[in-house]
């Protein structure tokens, strides 16, 4: 069965979704990711959806779930690279993905994650967060 690979980068987990998700694949990803967060003690999860052309309410719910579940495990989730058409459609569908952080690309997402984690731990290293701004 297909699986979406989860990459570990230091404190963070990186998931790049390259295919159109069907339900079971998305559910597997949700389960795998939560397991990985626990196992690696990751502080942040970065989901890159720049190659995803369709996000319907089910997919939106999975993304929301991953964010909430990670939060419970003390890890922040940032969704990066959402296509304009997908963003417009999600808003019209009535799914603003509340509670999910977003960034334009992986690089900006990393900075955002770092700044969020720094805020949680201490105030050090503020200079490195040039582009990032927490909401």
């Amino acid at each position: 069965m297909d699986r979406i690979p989860i990459l570990r980068m230091g404190n963070f987990l990186l998931v790049t979704i390259q295919v159109d998700l069907y339900d079971r694949l998305a559910l597997t990803l949700e389960a795998d990711l939560v397991q990985m967060v626990k196992k690696t003690n990751a502080k942040g999860v970065l989901i890159d959806i720049s190659a995803v052309s369709i996000v319907d309410s089910f997919m939106g719910r999975i993304i929301g779930n991953i964010a909430s579940m990670s939060k419970i495990l003390d890890s922040e989730t940032v969704v990066v690279g959402m296509q304009p058409a997908v963003a417009i459609t999600l808003i019209e569908l009535g799914l603003p993905l509340k509670g999910v952080h977003t960034a334009l690309d992986v690089e900006k997402g990393m900075l955002l994650l770092k700044s969020m984690i720094d805020e949680n731990v201490d105030d050090a290293d503020l200079d490195e967060q040039d582009d990032a701004f927490a909401e």
Binding site: D20, Y22, D23, R24, S53, I54, V55, D56, S57, F58, G60, R61, Q83, P84, A85, V86, I88, T89, E92, L93, G94, L95
Partner: protein, 136 residues
């Protein structure tokens, strides 16, 4: 309204959803629908297919290219023989759902398309028709 092409696709399992999405995309591209409208249409189709699989174990989807003189569009008709919807007005309300979803299936879907029509009979099934115009 004129129907320019018509085909019926059976949807019985989850993977069929991806197939149908691709087919709808092909048709939308053919009538030069813009990317955002394509995304709206395919997302709407995805929502309705999901409903069909969840509540009625699948059904048929008719994919048509329609024309109203000035404008071309894609018409999708979802026909299932499921349990039907007892109160359509209630099902069309934001935030209502009997299943385990977010409850924005039908009203959310309606916002994504230009025309939305639903007919349902308890015990017989549900038919949902949507139209998205190429530039609408």
């Amino acid at each position: 309204m004129l129907s320019l092409s018509k085909e019926t696709i059976k949807v019985l399992k989850e993977q069929d959803v991806v197939l149908l999405r691709n087919r709808v995309k092909e048709v939308a591209v053919k009538i030069k629908m813009g990317l955002v409208n394509q995304t709206r249409l395919i997302t709407a189709a995805s929502e309705l297919l999901r409903n069909m699989l969840r509540y009625a174990n699948g059904g048929n989807c008719i994919v048509e290219i329609v024309s109203s003189g000035r404008n071309n569009g894609v018409r999708l008709t979802f026909i299932d023989k499921g349990p039907g919807i007892p109160d359509i007005a209630l099902a069309m309300k934001d935030g209502y759902s009997t299943g385990k979803s977010l409850g924005l299936g039908l009203p959310g879907t309606k916002r994504l398309v230009n025309e939305f029509d639903i007919k349902s009979k308890v015990g017989e099934g549900t038919t949902v028709t949507i139209i998205k115009w190429a530039n609408g």
